[in-house]
Amino acid sequence: MSRPLSGMKVVGKPRRRVDARAKVTGQTRFADDLVLPRMLHCKLLRSPHPHARIRRIDARAALSMPGVKLVLTGADLPIPYGILPVSQDEHALCLSRVRFVGDPVAAVVAVDEITAFEALDEIQVDYEVLPTIADPLEALATPEPKIQPYGEGNVHKKVALEFGDVDAAMAGADHVFEDIFFYQGNTHLAIEQHAAVGAVDPDGKLTLWSSTQTPHYVHRALARVLQIPAAHIRVIAMPNGGGFGGKSDPFNHEIVVAKAALVLGRPVKTCLNREEVFYCHRGRHPVTMKLKTGVKSDGSIVAMDLQTLLDGGAYGSYGVASTFYTGALQTVTYQVPRYRFRGCRTFTNKPPCGPKRGHGTPQPRFAQEIQLDKIAAVLRLDPARLRQSQLAKPHSLTANYMRLGTISLSECIDRVVEGSDWKNRYGKLPFGHGIGIACSSYLCGAGLPIYWNTLPHSGVQLQLDRSGRVTAFCGAAEIGQGSDDVLANLVAEVLGVDPFDIRLVTGDTDLGPVDLGSYSSRVTLMMGHAAIQAAERARDLIAQAVSAKLEVPVARLVFADRRVFDAQDPARGVSFAEAVQVGEAMHGTLGTTGSYRPPESAAKYKGGGVGPSPAYSYSACVVEVQVQPETGWVEVEKVWIAHDIGRALNPVLARGQVEGSIYMALGEALMEEMDYRRLPRHLSAALVHKFPSMLEYKSPTTLEMPEVITYLVEDPDDAGPYGAKEVGQGPLLPVMPALANALYDAVGIRVDEVPITPEKILRALGDRTAHRCGPKSFPFIEWPEPLRVPPPWEGGDGKAQNEGPRRRREGAIVAPDVAQPGLSPHPSTPEGRREKSDETSPAPELPEVLR
């Protein structure tokens, strides 16, 4: 979709975002700001045990408290759900077993929050404590008791893929490097705590307002669990007070307040406290990695072999996708002729991990970029040049069949090398002071939806009337990233009006066409295309009418400055409102739609659904550090980052996304971690979260944020709207390894894990032989036979040679398993789309519930 880029009025101009005024006046309404008449309040009772069977729940005392209206337990919501069709393993309230500290067991609804809170203390739960699994090593070694009824023991998923004969290529390499890395888990820490309000509409339908990034998926989960036709449920994603991936699963509390509202016929609200937000988690998976790379003496890669071991926590969440993502994008930055990837996700008795900014890719990126630095050191090559010399080729297929578009990484590297004066400073700064470089790439939207279907991934509808009003409807959720601004920006550009002229209705499943949600950096690209298509259709209708009125050929009409006029005689024209009027007179009421679905992927093997994207963004980063060798204290002095964004639709927002990514990356690199500990045995063997508070979970403040020099490199990609690619996640990826590499330049040590704390730096400085701190071994894992897919340059066609025929799992697209009142039953989802749960079939032994 290439179009002239000159003469644009809105796209590319630094502008105040359309929702800025609401935000700076405190008028943006977040979910917890909603208050409805007769609204009740809900609190969840969460498990104090990391693993236990629920024997009995006695809610009698709680129910007898004045003001308490309802107590719900697992038996009230017995249908499982989960974000991925292959992991329908969650229950809104645990049925018979709790799997981590914080797993919800019961819900209280009362007249006010404090009564609900006090009533939690009055619910007696009798638990039978079970042994716990603390980490992936224990999970591999301890198949029983199984945390989940599916998977192999406590292994959730193993995947193995091989693109070309890796062992043969390694044997022919001049050097083979093998390193082990650990990337600690961390969490999103959006400042807004999750909140939701459920209410029954006057006509009996259900509405849920929630701080969610994915209203469409919440919609599906509600229909499934509550057994209500999806068309009778409305989900409204309120503007999120930050998402970062932490609000993209359907959550327990959302389903609970919806159910409570249905039972009581009154609005019900809940707002999680900060501790509960830590338990919702779905953040970065802790990953141990073994990376083996064969190179020629000039440093060029001949083969790469990656193994990853993920700590998934207690539920599936996005975990299967996360596992594939720890391998899928290793090939899109540099040329990797042959590649083997094996990944394993384990269940542990901890809050479930899922997608956080960069979903599954920061961990292997950390490994690869540090290893490249080691390769450069051994081969005495300049790390920047080593990267430059083997960048992936634009418009090519990778070994694992990712179809690449534009790549401006070379220019990105040039910019940060120049900006940081790399050539005069790398390897030349005094002891304690150093710089390091790393690169990365990221997707612009997942090529496949989360559940298999052939529908659009994003839709936009426009409605125009004679007043000149343009309203844009779209299901996309505004999570702070500026998706509303992108929508207004693009529609305004096409129709020649100001973005502030456009009314927006977004994130509402009743009013807007489906957009899959704000995840995988997909919204700008996918919603953007849909918006342009809808706007161009509206423009064409209007142009036809204006052309007739002015007697000017359509091709000569210009839409700009809130007018439609003759390009050859700009005085000859009409106002935009008038143009809509003549359009309405000619065509009747004006409305158009646009939609977008990504192109077919070239990866035809099982697992090839994770990684393909319409386009890839690229980043290069240089980090400068000052290290105090006596204390191990690191000060980040400055960061240079260049991001290949295709086109910056609004440079103010684009820069904000880059700097926000750097900030979040520095937190991951230096301090943030989800850490757990066992309580002393004489108290309990419980495995508890070490830091479920913002004070103890350290994140960077204004005092830690260094100076950042941001370069937006614009080389429009035909796959993006006006050439735009993503910017919300990619720039996070190179920062952690660039920082680790800077440490090496500064004091000659390798810290092969994050967070890089002063303690680990001292440990590496004290290691007189390896000068290293990091994991020493990668556990033995019995891998399945890999699917063998010959790379494109070895005659492959994207299919695996050793894979049996695959059945595409066609399923109920909108709402599985819903009995529609008065209608014939909805066809149920075919077997196999869902993992079996012991808590559905056969019915588990349910605890006794006393009310």
Binding site: D19, R21, I191, Q193, V652
Partner: protein, 176 residues
């Protein structure tokens, strides 16, 4: 039954103070924080919360001109004080220069930390319209922002300071 020592069992108390320039007189539950009274009893939801434990700064408001964490302050302690919240920064429809600068320069992404940042920035600029970067960092260090990386916030505070120092009319009236 009601739990012994239940918070909710104490009688409410009368409170009068000044809120965004207007006198307020209400009955408040003694256990309620200023944050809760502002958001729930008075309907001023502009002030946010991210922890209710004094950790994030989202709930900052100005108390007699000084930023405080409204989640750590009991409303009952606020007798006769003057409270200013994000709702009290603009003059009618005219934004405060700090609000203008935040809006124009990308200092509000999700906007959730923004009220706390804005009132903290106002408190700083009222004392010192020409702060250094270090002074801005210090003044805002109690408010966490998870979106912006802070740099555009610093720039907005500097831009607003320049405007204030240049003696431009405090309210610019720029819209929207």
């Amino acid at each position: 039954m009601s739990a012994v020592g239940s918070f909710s069992s104490h009688p409410p108390t009368r409170l009068s103070f000044k809120l965004n320039g207007e006198p307020v007189e209400i009955l408040v539950d003694t256990y309620k924080t200023l944050l809760e009274v502002l958001r729930e009893d008075l309907g001023l939801t502009g002030t946010k919360h991210g922890c209710e434990l004094g950790e994030c700064g989202a709930c900052a408001v100005l108390l007699d001109g000084r930023p405080i964490l409204s989640c750590l302050m009991l409303a009952a302690e606020c007798e006769a004080v003057e409270v200013r919240t994000v709702e009290g920064l603009a003059d009618g429809a005219c934004l405060h220069p700090v609000q203008e600068a935040f809006a124009d320069l990308g200092a509000a992404q999700c906007g959730y930390c923004t009220p706390g940042m804005l009132v903290s920035a106002c408190a700083l600029l009222e004392k010192n319209a020409n702060p250094t970067r270090a002074e801005i960092r210090e003044a805002l260090s109690g408010v966490l922002c998870r979106c912006t990386g802070y740099l555009q916030i610093f720039e907005a505070v500097e831009a607003a300071g320049r405007k204030l120092a240049a003696g431009l009319p405090e309210k610019t009236g720029k819209t929207p």
